[in-house]
Amino acid sequence: MTRDEAAGLVAGALGDVAPEADVRGIDPDGLLQDEIGLDSIDFLTVVNVVGEQAGLHIPERDFPALVTFAGFVSYLVEGTGDDRRA
């Protein structure tokens, strides 16, 4: 999965759980819970949806890597074993 593909996946899931949020305008290095007000249910929903679409099981131990948009994208790129730049 390329960074662009991963970014699209995460942005899509965030847009679904927080349709009122400006996903394109979030700081990629800011905490998602601050940027768009993700609570624990939203966070788990995003993780489950993205994990299923990426074909990855994302264990709770890895959750700290997912707290920012940029971190989430990097995790997916590394986890899917493809860091080609689109």
Partner: protein
């Protein structure tokens, strides 16, 4: 000894999850003091403001064979932003609770529970249980993401859930006191639970494969819930993997009741949804000889 976990935060600070110490009692008390009345209701089933002794006992859970972990961060002084604990139950499992500061909710609750599960496994505690109000959607979401089962869903205002510490599913209690019925059905509740328990049976309800949690049987591995059960009632739809087919190959000796009449070899048909029909069939199946491999 439970190892500490360190998490680098985007702002450069470090969050540490570690076993609680006696000196953390005040920090945990401050964590609870920041909870809303709704939060307290979800935690204690009433708007209960715990006394100082409560926090002293929580942080010293290890003295009673349990465990308490705290999540601390410099903010700018050291602050307890989360706490997870279990105390031992008579059946050998642990009774868990997780509390996270309102401004830290998101990833930290599931992460703390994961650390607690790891600590419990290291101490030989096979499962962690929780009594959860049905309106506590946060806690239900955190627990349901793991492989869980319902051990008591007969009260529609609260539910008792159990998660395993050493594998993808929980296990049955070590002591076998009653015939064991595993009900596999979507969601948390099984309509036959009350009747089966009234008939003297132990019941666990498994939701099967679901988001975030893996099903060992679907993946071709034995499931401890199935291998520990005397009879399985499988009412799962054939979506996301056919559990009935998985039982046939992975648990060939399991005695499986299925609704309807379309049966695989070795299955028992449940033709009616009435409690009487269910209990009658359960008793007949339990009285039958387990098939080889069961």
């Amino acid at each position: 000894m439970t190892a500490a976990r360190e998490v680098g935060l985007p702002d450069g600070r470090t969050l540490v999850v570690r076993p609680a110490e006696a000196a953390d009692a005040d920090g945990v008390a401050l964590l609870y003091a920041a909870l809303s009345e709704d939060d307290l209701h979800l935690r204690f089933f009433s708007v209960y403001h715990p006394p100082r002794d409560f926090f002293a006992r929580v942080v010293d859970a290890a003295a009673e064979g349990g465990c308490c972990l705290v999540a601390v961060v410099d903010d700018p002084v050291t602050r307890v932003v989360g706490e997870a604990e279990y105390f031992l139950l008579p059946n050998g499992n642990g009774e868990l609770a997780v509390t996270v500061a309102p401004d830290w909710r998101g990833w930290l609750g599931p992460y703390l529970l994961d650390a607690l599960v790891e600590a419990a496994a290291a101490h030989g505690v096979p499962n962690l249980e929780a009594e959860v109000l049905v309106e506590n959607r946060r806690m239900l979401a955190v627990i349901r993401r793991r492989g869980y089962a319902t051990v008591d869903g007969t009260d529609f205002s609260e539910v008792r859930l159990v998660i395993g510490t050493a594998g993808p599913t929980p296990t049955w209690p070590a002591r076998r006191q009653r015939p064991r019925v595993l009900a596999e059905t979507r969601g948390t509740w099984w309509s036959g639970e009350r009747a089966a328990k009234a008939a003297g049976m132990a019941v666990m309800v498994c939701p099967g494969p679901h988001a975030g949690a893996r099903c060992p049987a679907i993946e071709g591995e034995p499931c401890p819930l199935v291998t520990g059960a005397d009879v399985v009632v499988c009412a799962l739809p054939a979506t996301g993997g056919d559990v009935r087919a998985a039982h046939a190959s992975v648990h060939p000796g399991a005695r499986v009741i299925v609704p309807g009449l379309a049966l695989r070899s070795g299955e028992f048909p449940l033709a009616s949804t009435s409690d009487d029909a269910l209990i009658g069939l359960l008793r007949r199946v339990l009285a039958s000889n387990p098939r080889p491999g069961g």
